[in-house]
Symmetry: C2
Subunit: 503 residues, 2 copies
């Protein structure tokens, strides 16, 4: 019930939210068909310069240009297809996103990450990508009195988003290990921090209202919080009454465990690999799936599985929270690009997999067909990323530097990032100032023709993370091809060797 949700979560709203309410000049009177409405300031669709859009859609990522036989085609025109014609998508649109897309996304969430509370109490809201989502979330739920917990290394613009509201960012210790059972937020550290807040290092700040986490294929470390730890963290959220903001841009890019005996093994390419296997065995359960209280907000984006230039993402959360975010959207950005939504939805319709005899007027049938087509597409994307992960790890493990124990790899089980951690055991000395030393390493790497991101630069607090900041973030997403990844990995090895030699 919305009223119950409000009672439970109204105190989480930022102080400024009371002024943030839409002043509307229109009423929602339902008029007869014979009434001419000269109300909305929107142009007739015949004023739009574009009459039709034809799209060529590939069967899989990196499909050869010559393989045109596999290409699919989509067409939108002023009044076709009825499901979403240009007259609709290029017009002023619903701030919450086009209903066609929004209801499909709801279906998607229900299939993959069904929240653990009543289906009537949660909702999805489209946004212009995850930065847009999180800025809105923090503005609605944080102010000068708020404290936000986050991984000690994080997508650092998030720090700006939090600070812009006047709130404080508190880093959480992370385990940067190879072992997937212990990766990510250090739960003992978090428990201790919360249990002893009043005597701890942050006692001057209020107890946290929000935990922000990139829990799968984390940026920049590549780690994934195991499900057991998610449950423990959720229990802490219940006990200490904070919201969890789960940012999951990378979750779909899920990898099987790296097999050092058979480095190029790629489960996605196996014949009996199914959507069910992908969803049940590969994708890590969202915090939503254990969210009995309705205190989790999940953010997804189409940037990694479709394209960043779409600027489309969405939030899932309880209706009270989503309603507030929607109201905030109304007085800030309004709707995401209708053109982007049309391009996305048209692609989903083109990828859709119908069975013979399917009733295409039945919404549930349409949603299931869209779901299958979309899952198969993102599994192909994930397969390509798995291949890239394999290539990269194999090449890194082949280097002399690795064999000599100069670095370890924080093996990712999802995403775009591989964390390369320097091991000081074999170094002439363990440095006193690790960030300074990492800057020197960067010079050796660039000299050897490889540029990565220095982990410490994505730290919330340099001092707090001093000992843990001896890693590089290596992106496998943009490289041109396998050879470039292999070459890059070798150069990283050589760079580290030279650096050690000259320490």
């Amino acid at each position: 019930m919305l009223a119950d949700l409000e009672k439970k979560y109204a105190s989480f709203l930022s102080k400024r939210m009371e002024h943030r309410r839409m002043v509307k000049f229109w009423d929602d009177e339902v008029l007869g068909d014979d009434v001419i409405e000269l109300t909305a300031g929107m142009p007739n669709e015949q004023f739009f310069p574009i009459k039709a859009i034809d799209m060529t859609i590939v069967n899989k990522p990196f499909e050869s240009d010559h393989d045109t036989s596999k290409h699919m085609h989509a067409r939108m025109s002023t009044y076709e297809p009825k499901s979403l014609p240009i007259a609709r998508s290029f017009q002023y649109n619903e701030v919450e996103g086009l209903p066609q897309l929004r209801s499909f996304i709801r279906y998607l969430v229900n299939k993959i990450n069904k929240p653990a509370y009543s289906e009537e109490d949660w909702e999805v809201l489209l946004s212009s990508g995850s930065c847009d989502s999180m800025f809105k979330f923090f503005e609605c739920f944080c102010d000068e009195s708020s404290t936000v917990l986050m991984e000690e290394f994080t997508f650092s613009p998030v720090i700006s988003h939090v600070r812009a509201t006047g709130a404080e960012c508190i880093p959480l210790k992370m385990n940067l290990t190879k072992d997937p059972k212990t990766q990510g937020i250090d739960v003992d550290y978090l428990t201790d921090l919360l249990e002893n807040w009043e005597t701890g290092p942050y006692k001057k700040h209020n107890k946290p209202r929000v935990l922000y986490t990139i829990c799968t294929g984390q940026n920049p470390t590549g780690v994934t919080i195991p499900v057991e730890n998610r449950k423990k963290i959720y229990a802490l959220a219940q006990k200490h009454d904070f919201l969890i903001l789960e940012d999951d841009p990378y979750g779909y890019l899920s990898f099987p465990a790296y097999n050092s005996e058979n480095p190029m093994k790629n489960d996605y390419l196996e014949e009996n690999f199914t959507i069910e296997k992908y969803v049940n065995d590969f994708l890590v359960d969202s915090f939503l799936t254990i969210d009995t209280d309705a205190r989790v907000v999940r953010m997804e984006t189409f940037s990694k599985v479709f394209s960043p230039g779409l600027r489309l993402g969405f939030l899932v959360g309880n209706k009270f929270i989503i309603n507030n975010l929607l109201e905030y959207a109304e007085i800030t950005t309004r709707a995401p690009s209708g053109v982007s939504q049309a391009v996305l939805y048209s692609t989903l319709e083109t990828l859709a997999e119908y069975q013979e005899g399917d009733n295409r007027e039945d919404k549930a049938v349409v949603h299931e067909a869209l779901f299958k087509g979309w899952m198969h597409w993102i599994m192909k994307v994930a397969s390509e990323y798995t291949h890239r992960r394999n290539i990269t790890l194999k090449a890194m493990y082949e280097t002399e530097a690795y064999k000599k124990g100069y670095f370890t790899v924080v093996e990712p089980s999802a995403g775009m990032f591989v964390g390369v951690k320097v091991k000081w055991d074999h170094a002439p000395k363990k440095p006193e100032n690790i960030p300074e030393e990492m800057k020197k390493l960067d010079r050796y790497l660039v000299k050897n023709g490889i540029k990565t991101v220095l982990g410490y630069r994505m730290g919330v607090c340099t001092e707090f993370s001093h000992d843990n900041s001896d890693f590089l973030r290596v992106t496998i997403a943009y490289a041109r091809d396998d050879n470039q990844l292999v070459e890059a990995s070798h150069r990283i090895g050589t760079g580290i060797e030279e650096f050690f030699k000259n320490m």
Copy 2:
């Protein structure tokens, strides 16, 4: 000079701006070609599902479906055209907008509304439409200490935007007359208000820092502030040191004066009508053109001249202001949709008018060709709106109610809106409560099959605007065709007649 601008305008920044700064983890090191960069978390373009987009572009609004011979075609693919391929536009993009589009927009501003100060000191910033622009502006420049002046009737979501920052909205008296020489903000009222602020009705509030105005084809009244009054208002801005935020979504939809002798006269259709005539004689000069101090920020949108679903607009202002807006964009929405930008830019390229022998490698030549094509398109849009204005006014003036003097028309010289003002001289009595009476009129209108917007609902302060709020906002933009506009106008007449009869 940026430093001078900063000195002059830094005090205008909102208090919260000091916390609103981007935390970056990347450096801008320029690397050699042989360095492999595995830094940015962006997917290779071969991960995008869309390989090509073909667009069909019409020659003019309302072009017949059968008239395909006049249609134009545009094509984008992963690596073509070089000017803006999908690999670029569908990727993560510059927060300030794609450079191709941004530099064209700069050219456009320079041609039409050249600011009166040094070309080096102003800049343009793309946004996701004017709501996005204005929310950013108000967040950057307003807080609890700010007072914002605006027309007493306005696009009312603006009120929400201002209040969301904690600032106060102050309405300004408007002249809602037929006479284009006196339409819009009442300059005497404004002068008096500013000169006597400390003893006036708003003395409890700080003196205004911003004047927000929709100065051409105003929403909801349709009025345009004449150039002479713009100069007087600008002089007041200088004297009392406030910024002018000029919101101009409708300016391009410029009308010649309505000719009651020849109601259907449409100058756009005359043979010798040129871009020069349009720009010099039809478009009303922006406040930018008299802005010697760099205190004007202008907002434009592509919603009315292309399509609202693009969610694209831009701001023009001095570099200090634009830099702050850009920094704020970095920690909120980030870039506008690249897909929308691609669709827009590709259309501009298709409409471009090159001369024989033009060097298409020369940026200035390209800009001029884009400019001509774009101007010819929006002149066709403006021509269609002029036709609609003519049709509507003619039909309104034909009604019995008009002939009996029951209403006047606030003749617009631009835009989408016609203000219909009730005249009480012939009413049984002048009502004590005009908004209540207008609600009754609305019932008679709906009964007669016509729905408009009640002007008072777009007022900043009902009490302040009581006497002036006896008008309807009639939109000419969405109607299906001429007949619908004629029928709607007649119904307005009949509705007013019935209302008067039953008063």
